[in-house]
């Protein structure tokens, strides 16, 4: 069963068409990656799916709910992690997670916070103010925030952006684990190797159009490439 169905999605900013009628499906529990250069339309697509931007034409269905008609319902089942997201600086890590958890089922509140603290894995620093966190700690807190609610669809924009190797690896492991737990993941990345490691299926996007889509291994075979980076170069040619 498809958890996400995107059909002929068009999104424009004024006269500039950022996404030009793309279509793709994501199965339940699948990790789907959108890969492309800067300005390809990855973030715009993710922002549309997370209800931040309105659709110009086309349709998006998440777990059979029409995004354009019921954005409030969609927000209950998704979680979005923007590329350069921040947290409220005057709150401690724990208070920040509590603030977010309060928007969800109050009966599950404690469970959600405990899960968030576990994913963030900040130890005693969880009770320090966000303002004192390093970039890596902040990102881990935000990943914890995004995944603690056990969303049906996690939309992650460059989840390891700006992180060192160890922190990035930790976050990749977390994403793999939640996918095994049944969460569908849609992520974008510049890092082709990361995508190759993480994603069950990928779509290569350039200039607002999906130019190739498939399982990383099969795409490498199709284009006789040793990695996704080479596939991308080949496709763009």
């Amino acid at each position: 069963m498809a958890a996400v169905i995107v059909k002929n999605l068009v999104k424009s900013y004024g006269e500039i068409q950022a996404v030009k009628g793309i279509s793709f499906n994501i199965s339940k529990g699948e990790i789907f990656g959108l890969i492309g250069p800067n300005g390809a339309g990855k973030t715009t697509t993710l922002r549309v799916l997370s209800t931040l931007l309105q659709i110009n034409s086309g349709s998006v269905k998440i777990l059979d709910i029409d995004l354009a008609k019921k954005p409030e319902e969609i927000r209950k089942i998704i979680s979005y992690l923007p590329e350069d997201a921040g947290a409220y600086k005057n709150l401690t890590g724990r208070k920040y997670l509590e603030f977010i958890a309060n928007f969800f089922d109050s009966k599950e509140n404690k469970k959600i916070i405990t899960r968030g603290i576990k994913i963030a894995d900040l130890g005693a620093r969880i009770d320090d103010k966000v303002d004192t966190y390093s970039k890596g700690m902040k990102r881990r807190l935000l990943v914890g925030r995004a995944l603690m609610t056990d969303p049906a669809l996690a939309i992650l924009d460059e989840p390891t952006s700006g992180l060192d190797v160890i922190n990035a690896q930790e976050i990749r492991k977390i994403i793999k684990n939640i996918s095994k737990g049944g969460t569908t993941v849609l992520l974008s990345s510049h890092n082709m190797l990361e995508v190759e490691f993480l994603c069950d299926r990928i779509a290569l996007i350039a200039d607002g159009v999906i130019i190739e889509e498939g399982i990383p291994k099969k795409l490498m075979e199709k284009y006789n490439a040793s990695n996704i980076e080479e596939v991308f170069t080949e496709v763009v040619k």
Binding site: G14, L52, L53, A87, I100, F103, F104
Partner: protein
């Protein structure tokens, strides 16, 4: 280009933005229009005050008085019917009706001050509204001095006190349907301004403080990149807008209470001396009036914060938020100064329209209006401000529901229309 020139050119380009220029241009326009208004007031001062008088005494001493009045004022009534005289003045923008009693000179010769009855026609309680009555006050001082001089020159044997103060004023003021005895317009203005100073200042402080909080809060959400997360959470847009407004209103009210405590004690020093006179002149607010003022303050605060929320959606970062507080500050200062200098009733029609249109001016005008039972102005103000607040909230919620909050995009159809034209 030299290194210095290169840096200067770069700095000018960075600093000279529309955001820097616009507030200064608006400020200049406001000062220009205020200059024109003050120019009009100067003309008003230069014009002789419009008065009327009855001289029942018709003596040499009373003629000293009427000669001064004829010379320095524009006399539009000089007959024998008091009621007719007052009515004529009321209909012709008159300032005062002066009545010299029959036994005026006899009293002076007997060593008692001669009575001059003055019926002031007061139109407004602002500082600039009492200019004409002050001019008449000066003429009455001149009458007093000239009669003193005459008594001395003619060697009339009266006691020293009467020589120095040969006249005494029995004053009654007609103001907005009330007849206030024993008080000239200056005293009434003093009482009214001491009673209505607190609200405009506190209103200004609350709006500026809590308004800048709302704008900064929106700007910080954008700058700290927390807005996108907030907008993808299962929370209604109306709850986000209302939550920000309520929190800022709450903090604004706390700050206002602290501020009012200090300012209240400060102003109490001035009010103590006036309280007896105010009660006598029935220039006080009743409990129902205070309730209306409270309602006016409340809806205005909500309107101001809704307006600030709308401005906050335009803020790109904390720096631009600082610029956006400027219109709020100006819209608060303008009515505060106008109501301080002029009464709503005595303003030119255009200024009346501007003052009514600025939602923040209504609680500033309310106390004075309620003292004189002008419920129409206050209630229509509350209704107008409530509508303004609702419209602002609806626009803010609409912006929260569109892409504009994140992309700042403008209406493309509108753009196209302009391009075609």
């Amino acid at each position: 280009m030299s290194s210095l020139g290169n840096i200067v050119f770069k700095e000018i380009r960075e600093l000279l933005t529309p955001a820097t220029l616009l507030p200064i241009i608006i400020m200049a326009i406001i000062f220009m229009s205020m200059g024109n208004t003050i120019g009009g007031i100067e003309d008003e001062i230069e014009e002789p005050p419009i008065i009327g008088y009855i001289d029942y005494d018709n003596s040499n001493l009373s003629k000293i008085a009427t000669n001064i009045l004829d010379k320095s004022a524009k006399v539009i009534y000089n007959s024998t019917n008091k009621e007719e005289g007052i009515k004529t003045l009321e209909e012709n923008d008159g300032v005062a009706f002066i009545l010299i009693q029959k036994n005026f000179s006899n009293n002076i010769f007997k060593g008692n001050p001669g009575e001059i009855e003055i019926y002031w026609i007061m139109r407004g309680a602002g500082i600039l509204d009492s200019i004409s009555s002050s001019v008449v006050g000066l003429l009455l001082d001149e009458i007093n001095n000239n009669i003193s001089r005459d008594l001395i020159q003619e060697n009339i044997e009266v006691n020293a006190t009467t020589v120095l103060q040969p006249t005494f004023r029995n004053q009654t003021t007609h103001f907005k349907g009330k007849e206030i005895t024993g008080m000239p317009p200056e005293d009434i203005s003093g009482i009214l301004s001491s009673q209505s100073t607190l609200i405009p200042i506190v209103m200004m402080m609350i709006i500026i403080m809590s308004g800048s909080m709302v704008i900064s809060s929106m700007a910080l959400e954008k700058e700290n990149k927390t807005l996108e997360t907030l907008l993808t959470l299962p929370v209604k847009r109306t709850s986000i807008v209302a939550g920000k407004i309520i929190a800022s209103a709450f903090i604004g009210l706390i700050l206002a209470v602290i501020y009012m405590l200090g300012l209240g004690y400060y102003l109490m020093g001035f009010q103590m001396t006036d309280s007896a006179g105010a009660a006598q002149a029935s220039l006080y607010l009743e409990a129902s009036d205070l309730l209306l003022i409270g309602l006016s303050v409340f809806v205005t605060l909500i309107a101001a914060l809704s307006f600030c929320m709308l401005l906050g959606t335009l803020a790109k970062n904390y720096k631009s938020a600082q610029t956006l507080t400027f219109p709020v500050t100006m819209l608060t200062l303008i009515p505060m100064f106008i109501t301080m200098f002029k009464d709503f009733d005595t303003l030119p029609l255009a200024l009346k329209g501007i003052l009514f249109g600025i939602p923040f001016s209504h609680p500033m005008m309310a106390p004075r209006a309620l003292i004189f039972d002008d419920y129409l102005l206050v209630i229509s103000g509350i209704v107008y401000v409530s509508i303004f607040a609702i419209v602002m909230i609806l626009i803010s919620v609409w912006i929260f529901k569109t892409d504009r909050l994140l992309t700042g995009s403008t209406n493309t159809n509108l753009k196209k229309l302009f391009r075609k034209k």
